[in-house]
């Protein structure tokens, strides 16, 4: 019996090739996308899931308070001593692990490698679960001169084979020291808050870095993340409180110091503590990340929504086309009823055919997902794996079958309802004229219009951001990391070596590359809290970057005080203090350092992302350190300049590799997330309109075949080709117009909210939505035209004879 129906269904699927093709392709597209999205969501929700102690591992956060008691923010960095105090005196804490991550230069067989090294306490491998390939993990970090590598890092740095006992040269500050490989671990999964390839002993830090050594006894400097392993059955709330009381015990004068220095005016303690479960960390967008950024869980849900939407579109095709096709099957249904089929038998037959279609869609979808996974990985920046997720595959299979049932059940219900005589006489049809069909088509096109408007506007906003006048010129600037070398000597060297070259327009330096990092200062001036982003710069930086000096002057190397007690501020700074740019010149910055004098005011420049308003900024020379040398090349000369830069670096030092970025790229980094979302919405929009148009293609074919006779008669009566095309297209065109009226306001609302996240936003002009509607109309009409043209130029006598 089953084989009877299966054979019949297979024959039908093969015969109605267009119908089958559209349904299977549409479902495959949607299911493939859903599979990828499901794997992504699973990936996002299983960060660090493999640690055996996961439910007991927490990050210690200091929660900074405002004087009114509200939360100002979380800080995951702590004094050197905190972990020891917790381990000694906290009854609920079994283990603690301190971290620090720093770029370190290794010399291996004469070659220099810069590596991002994670320093961790020896307890690391007791708290977190990793698999050893070589060596004993429990003792691997006990010697301060030990280094643990992941398998791929060991391969990359040392080549294949067991590297245990090999010694490497590591440069701390300015001399090389020896470390020994004590263990190699299997590469951990990529979705972790604590990624590392090279791990060294935290104990080593104070021995080799002066800045750490200075802080070993200090409770005032908070620099090191601390993770803890709670004892089994520990109470989270009391464990948190105990941390707080221990801090007060060891560092009783935090509040009084704050009052003295003016940054704390509240009654009680300026900070409390929180224990953030490691398992929650990745999706907690309200706290700072682990060693990687956290991600907003709403992204998962937006993607989920998009996947669902496209699945619904594919199901709508399925429903519409099956209903359209049912007229063709009317006779069969009548006969089957005459042969004794009840409503249930007809419904199960049609339901079964839908399920078969869904299974084909599933197969296609998984194939598609496999092909598109690399693309998804490059967009989301993750390492998704489809076959490693049998749970997800089962869910997708269930979704496929459910969609088949959902999409097939309405037509099955409708088809099975008719009396056999109605069916036999072909007196029922469920064509494109019914209200439900129209409603479903409008839904499809409204979704397409909304997504396309979204894609257009998002692209436009990103272009708008890039074309914004930033107040300086970031083009062709090479940002060279000083990499622990003597930065002033480096800049002088680069000036001497590169300055005279034809392709080089200038050499300068600053403490932090724009948009990459910043250091902001907050201080009390009288009763007012003042805030400024402070950049330490080479004296010629304002001219070098092309900033507009509104009043006053730039730094003058000839004046001694300019390098010690002078600042250049921006308009926002002057505004904040209630000065015009002219008034600001000559003022002293009250209660900041030695109260430097403002010697000039520059036009506001967007030194951070355009998501934010321009904030007060100070340029100074007095901090005495620079982290980046800047070289501006002419646009044509860039490759040459890079080659000379490499050469000049080689002459300058053999102790560190050259590392550089382009300022343009650093600036673009701030919009990477936006660009990623624009791409995701763009791809979704394309898929949505593709699926919607596949359905339209099938429906138009049905409409034309149903109206063959009418079209034939009209042509015999002298109708022109255009009028016949219009006849077929008009109905669909009206639906697209209605869909635009529905989809556009939805998109307007959603995009308005997205744009609210930018301090600098484009105008949401109505023509974006008209353009989206017009685009959908164009694509829809082109799709229909394939059939309407065929109908219009067909031989009328032929079409009448067939009736």
């Amino acid at each position: 019996m089953f084989s009877h129906y299966l054979r019949h269904a297979a024959r039908l699927l093969a015969k109605q090739r267009l119908h089958t093709g559209i349904n299977v392709l549409g479902l495959a597209t949607a299911l493939g996308l859903c599979a990828i999205i499901a794997v992504f969501i699973k990936y996002e929700h299983s960060y660090d899931a493999w640690h055996e102690n996961l439910d007991r591992i927490y990050r210690v956060d200091r929660v900074d308070l405002n004087p009114d008691g509200s939360v100002d923010g979380h800080s995951p960095a702590h004094p050197f001593q905190l972990a020891g105090a917790l381990e000694r005196d906290h009854p609920d804490i079994q283990e603690t692990v301190r971290f620090n991550d720093t770029d370190v230069v290794f010399r291996i067989d004469g070659a220099l490698h810069q590596e991002d090294v994670l320093f961790a306490d020896a307890s690391f491998f007791d708290v977190f679960t990793y698999q050893s390939v070589y060596g004993d993990l429990r003792t691997s970090l006990q010697d301060p001169a030990s280094v643990v590598l992941t398998e791929s890092a060991a391969d990359r740095l040392l080549g294949p084979g067991n590297p245990i006992g090999r010694s490497l040269q590591v440069r701390y500050t300015d001399s090389f020291h020896e470390v020994v490989v004590t263990a190699v671990i299997a590469d951990p999964l990529p979705n972790t808050n604590i990624p590392f390839e090279v791990m060294m002993s935290f104990e080593r830090l104070p021995l080799v870095y002066e800045w750490v050594a200075e802080r070993v006894d200090s409770w005032r400097h908070s620099s090191f993340p601390v993770y803890v392993l709670l004892r089994e059955g520990a109470n989270l709330a009391s464990a948190t409180e105990t941390i707080e009381s221990l801090r007060v015990q060891y560092y009783p004068d935090m509040a009084s110091r704050g009052r003295e220095q003016g940054w704390w005016t509240g009654e009680g303690e300026p900070a409390t503590y929180a224990l953030i479960p490691l398992s929650d960390l990745h999706l907690r967008s309200d706290v700072p990340g682990g060693f990687v950024a956290t991600s907003d869980p709403s992204y998962s849900w937006i993607l989920f929504g998009i996947g669902l939407l496209i699945l619904v579109l594919a199901c709508i095709n399925f429903t519409l086309l099956t209903m359209g096709k049912s007229a063709v099957r009317a006779e069969e249904i009548g006969v089957r009823k005459a042969l004794g089929a009840g409503r249930w038998e007809i419904m199960t037959q049609f339901g079964g055919e839908s399920l078969l279609m869904a299974l084909l869609g599933l197969a296609g979808g998984l194939l598609l997902a496999g092909l598109l996974l690399p693309v998804a990985n490059s967009i989301t920046g993750s390492e998704l794996d489809l076959l490693g997720e049998p749970g997800v595959l089962v869910v997708i299979a269930a979704v496929a079958l459910l969609s088949g049932l959902a999409a097939g059940s309405y037509p099955a219900l409708m088809i099975s309802r008719h009396r056999p005589t109605e069916a036999l006489s072909g007196r029922f049809s469920m064509g494109s004229s019914s209200a439900i069909t129209r409603g479903l088509l409008i839904t499809q096109f409204a979704a397409s219009v909304a997504l396309i408007a979204g894609a257009l506007v998002m692209q436009a906003q990103i272009r708008f951001l890039q074309e914004q006048d930033k107040g300086y010129d970031p083009s062709n600037i090479i940002v060279v990391s000083t990499n622990g070398t003597d930065e002033f000597r480096l800049i002088r060297h680069l000036r001497d070596r590169l300055g005279p070259q034809p392709g080089v327009l200038g050499v300068s330096g600053m403490s932090l590359s724009l948009n990459r990092g910043y250091s902001s200062s907050v201080w009390m001036a009288g009763d007012v809290e003042r805030r400024a982003f402070v950049y330490n710069v080479a004296p010629d930086l304002p001219e070098f970057l092309g900033m507009d000096m509104l009043s006053g002057r730039g730094f003058d190397s000839a004046r001694a005080t300019d390098s010690t007690n002078a600042v250049i501020v921006n308009e926002a700074f002057a505004r904040d203090w209630g000065w015009t740019p002219e008034e600001a010149v000559g003022q002293l910055v009250a209660e900041y350092g030695d109260e430097p004098e403002i010697i000039g005011v520059v036009r506001d420049m967007n030194f951070r992302s355009l998501h934010e308003e321009v904030e007060p900024m100070m340029l100074t020379q007095s901090e005495g350190w620079l982290s980046h040398a800047l070289v501006r090349a002419s646009s044509a000369g860039t490759p040459q300049v890079l080659a000379s830069l490499q050469e000049a670096w080689g002459e300058f030092t053999a102790d560190a590799p050259l590392q550089y970025t382009f300022l343009d790229d650093d600036v673009a980094l701030a919009y990477e997330e936006d660009r990623r979302w624009a791409r995701i919405i763009g791809i979704s929009a394309s898929l949505a309109i593709l699926v919607a148009c596949m359905g339209l293609f099938g429906l138009a074919a049905l409409t034309v075949s149903r109206r063959t006779k009418e079209i034939g008669i009209r042509k015999v009566l002298g109708a022109s080709v255009q009028s016949v095309m219009l006849l077929v297209s008009r109905e669909f065109a009206i639906l697209v117009v209605v869909a635009t009226l529905i989809g556009a306001p939805l998109a307007y609302f959603g995009l308005g909210r997205w744009l609210d996240g930018f301090a600098f936003r484009m105008d949401l002009a109505p023509w974006w939505f008209l353009a989206a509607g017009a685009l959908v109309l164009l694509v829809a009409m082109t799709t229909v035209a394939f059939h309407s043209v065929r109908a219009a130029i067909s031989d009328p006598v032929k079409s009448l004879r067939y009736e």
Partner: protein
């Protein structure tokens, strides 16, 4: 076992056309006995097919009573009606109405599937039917590969496989050449006489009508005349 297989009382079927109503079957009362061979005649549009569809439970009357094997069909649930239908009634159409995408074998198998007859038994029943109608060689052909006469033979065979108590045939020979028609009529007659199957057929052919025990003539949805072929004027 009740004596009458079908008994209808004041059966009416009308269609609404907005303002007007058309009465297609008007207050028809009729009884068909077990084992009877009844022919229905009448001009085109007189309501013959409509009546036959109602008797075959393919359509619902607007009013009136219908007893099938003494069960009141007009009061039964759809489920019970489907059951009565699938166990007792075979229907033969003028337009054959074979299922295009099923082979001859599969077409014959279909009514047995709905009666939930198991695989091996189904196979032997279909094999018997193919044998009886000399269609063994054609069992894997599709309807479009058969002549009209052959298709109708499949139609009759398909009505028969469930061993129905009654076969309702709506102009079974209407689309056939006379020799093919003769063969179909001979088959129906044989079924009636040898197997005791009750037959109600609609026909325009007086000779074929006369094969039956009794003829009724419809005109405008009413029974205009009823006679036994022995007494028919044509036979005189």
């Amino acid at each position: 076992m009740p004596d009458s297989i079908i008994r209808v009382q004041n059966l009416t079927k009308s269609y609404d056309h907005g303002l007007s109503q058309s009465h297609v079957v008007r207050r028809v009362s009729l009884e068909v006995r077990q084992g009877e061979f009844l022919s229905i005649m009448g001009p085109s549009g007189s309501g013959k097919s409509t009546l036959l569809h109602i008797l075959g439970m393919l359509d619902e009357p607007t009013s009136g009573e219908y007893f099938f094997l003494d069960e009141p069909v007009h009061r039964l649930s759809n489920r019970r009606k489907t059951q009565l239908h699938r166990e007792n009634i075979g229907f033969v159409f003028q337009a054959y109405h074979l299922i295009d995408d099923l082979t001859v074998y599969e077409n014959l198998e279909t009514p047995l599937l709905y009666r939930k007859i198991k695989g091996s038994e189904r196979k032997s029943i279909v094999a018997d039917a193919l044998d009886r109608f000399n269609m063994v060689a054609k069992k894997d052909l599709f309807p479009s590969q058969l002549s009209g006469g052959q298709q109708q033979l499949v139609g009759v065979a398909r009505a028969l496989v469930i061993q129905p108590k009654i076969i309702l045939a709506d102009e079974p020979t209407g689309n056939l050449h006379s020799s093919q028609g003769d063969q179909i009529m001979a088959t129906l007659r044989q079924l009636n006489q040898e197997d005791g199957v009750t037959i109600v057929q609609v026909t325009h052919n007086q000779d074929y009508a006369n094969i039956g025990d009794r003829v009724i003539e419809l005109l405008d949805g009413r029974i205009e005349r009823e006679y036994r072929p022995e007494a028919s004027p044509n036979m005189d």
